[in-house]
């Protein structure tokens, strides 16, 4: 039920926001090193393993990070050794937040990124990226849910996003 209350001369409780923008990085199609940044959410390893096996890059850098909190400086440093980083998995509120914010940290270090978030959290992830000045951050939607599903189901869902990820990575065959 929506109740309409009208009272004159009340002040607005909603805050203003800034309008800063950050520069995002383009993928060099000839890149060599791919970082798979795993936040250890259930199924994140399956998704990243599948991508690692099917993106045709021999040099993979695997880094783990916390799910609901920022990556440590060392984890970011290691992740930034890749020419491109794929982060997963955002399939809840706090983990999506820190997939996006850690992706932005990497973008600020000059590393192009792709964040994988589930369909239920992709809209929020886009809004969060926008609020942090990164409206066009690469966020790929994988079908929710991932947690509580089998390895083969997760691989099937990852197979569906593979073409888009290849496209975002440049000249890899789709």
């Amino acid at each position: 039920m929506i109740v309409k209350v009208v009272e004159k001369d009340v002040m607005d409780p909603v805050a203003e926001t800034g309008d800063h923008k950050i520069e995002l990085n383009k993928v060099n199609p000839d890149f060599k090193k791919l970082t798979l940044f795993n936040n250890t959410k259930p199924g994140a390893d399956v998704i990243l393993d599948y991508l690692g096996e099917n993106l045709g890059k021999s040099e993979l850098i695997r880094v783990k990070k916390p799910a609901g909190a920022p990556a440590t400086p060392n984890q970011i440093k290691k992740a930034a050794m890749g020419d491109v980083a794929i982060l997963g998995l955002g399939d809840c509120g706090s983990c999506s937040s820190w997939v996006i914010l850690d992706a932005i940290r990497l973008e600020k270090l000059g590393v192009p990124t792709i964040s994988i978030c589930s369909t239920s959290f992709s809209e929020f992830s886009h809004e969060l990226a926008k609020a942090h000045g990164a409206e066009n951050l690469n966020i790929v939607k994988v079908q929710h849910p991932i947690a509580g599903t089998t390895t083969s189901e997760i691989q099937d869902k990852t197979r569906q996003i593979l073409p888009l990820i290849k496209e975002l990575l440049g000249n890899l065959e789709v």
Binding site: V10, M11, P13, A15, T17, P42, G68, G93, S94, L128
Partner: protein, 330 residues
């Protein structure tokens, strides 16, 4: 937007009365709050506090709490967005807490006290309207929790046999502080029969050691609110506050098979034999004394490794410790 309950309309006149109790410029940015990255100014904080029903004298406390949310270790980004039903709990200590009538005795976590009810509510409204933590939009709690409406109380310093949380964290008794801690709604521990500290602490430990909490797979802080009677039993058997923490850290454990069903894979270093401790160290047990007569304590599980509580002294802009909220008046 509101929390669903009726609000007091934030007229300019009402808002100015609250702004009279801060020495900050109404439009300066105190902090920026995610997910929307809204700029928390004293004016916006005051507007939301009026809506919550705060008296003007509560303004220094609400503002101090909002300030503390920006500490990186609190992780307000994760707390606001998570599917977990974590709420922001505020614990008030010191003379200003007494001055504004904070409830620290009977029913301090329930209804009936204006300061507790409206300060906690003001913080929630700030999260909704300043941070953009709107349920289903910027706050993704699967179900949320009644604790997300309001969750604030004072420590019962007069009946605490140990040092208060504020003193434990390095502040003089004359300093007023607020502590924000990200925790679930409280879980009661009813123990009327234990005669020894160990028996009573065992009841608390067994109640705390549950696999479904965040602490089980990502060990971290939990809040223990001990009633004065429980605290007295433990204290009279020679337990210091540190002894209590060490005992509980040792005995709050969950079988690893059950614990490893949470959102994040358990780190191997947290596994000890067939179990995990729900805290990383004794310091993760945040122990306060509150409440009235009765043999009940409360356990509030935390968010896990990803958030740590923040205790911040209430100060004037020039760094002077106020003796009264009236010191803020311009």
């Amino acid at each position: 937007m509101t929390d669903g309950l009726p609000i007091l309309p934030p007229t300019k006149e009402r808002v100015l009365k609250l702004l009279n109790y801060t020495d900050l410029d109404p439009h300066e940015t105190v902090t920026v709050l995610p997910p929307k990255m809204g700029m928390a100014t004293p004016e916006k904080i005051a507007i939301n506090s009026v809506m919550a029903g705060c008296l003007p004298q509560f303004m220094p406390v609400v503002l101090n709490c909002v300030k503390s949310l920006s500490c990186e270790k609190f992780n307000i980004t994760g707390i606001n967005a998570t599917t977990h039903p974590v709420a922001m709990c505020t614990i008030m200590n010191g003379p200003l807490s007494k001055e504004i009538g904070t409830g620290s005795g009977a029913g301090c976590l329930g209804p009936g006290n204006l300061a507790n009810a409206t300060i906690g509510r003001a913080l929630r409204l700030c999260m909704i309207n300043i941070a953009g933590a709107v349920p289903g939009v910027g706050d993704h709690a699967t179900m949320g929790s009644p604790a997300k409406y309001s969750y604030a109380f004072g420590e019962n310093e007069t009946e605490n046999p140990w040092e208060s949380l504020s003193v434990e964290r390095g502040h003089d008794r004359s300093v007023s502080t607020t502590t924000v801690i990200a925790v679930e709604a409280p879980q009661n521990v009813n123990d009327h029969r234990s005669q020894t500290a160990e028996d009573l602490l065992d009841t608390i430990a067994k109640t705390a050691s549950t696999p479904g909490c965040n602490n089980s797979h990502v060990p971290g802080e939990f809040l223990l609110i001990m009633s004065p009677e429980h605290a007295k039993t433990v204290y009279n058997h020679g337990f210091s506050k540190q002894d209590v923490k060490e005992y509980l850290h040792e005995h709050c454990i969950v079988d690893v098979e059950l614990a490893d069903r949470g959102g994040r894979k358990i780190e191997p270093e947290w596994i000890e034999g067939g179990h995990v401790h729900i805290t990383r160290s004794p310091e993760d047990i945040v122990l306060v004394v509150a409440g009235g007569v009765g043999r009940h304590s409360m356990i509030c599980h935390g968010f896990g490794t990803s958030s740590e509580s923040v205790t911040l002294p209430i100060m004037l802009k020039n760094g002077v410790i106020p003796k009264s909220v009236e010191d803020f008046k311009k």
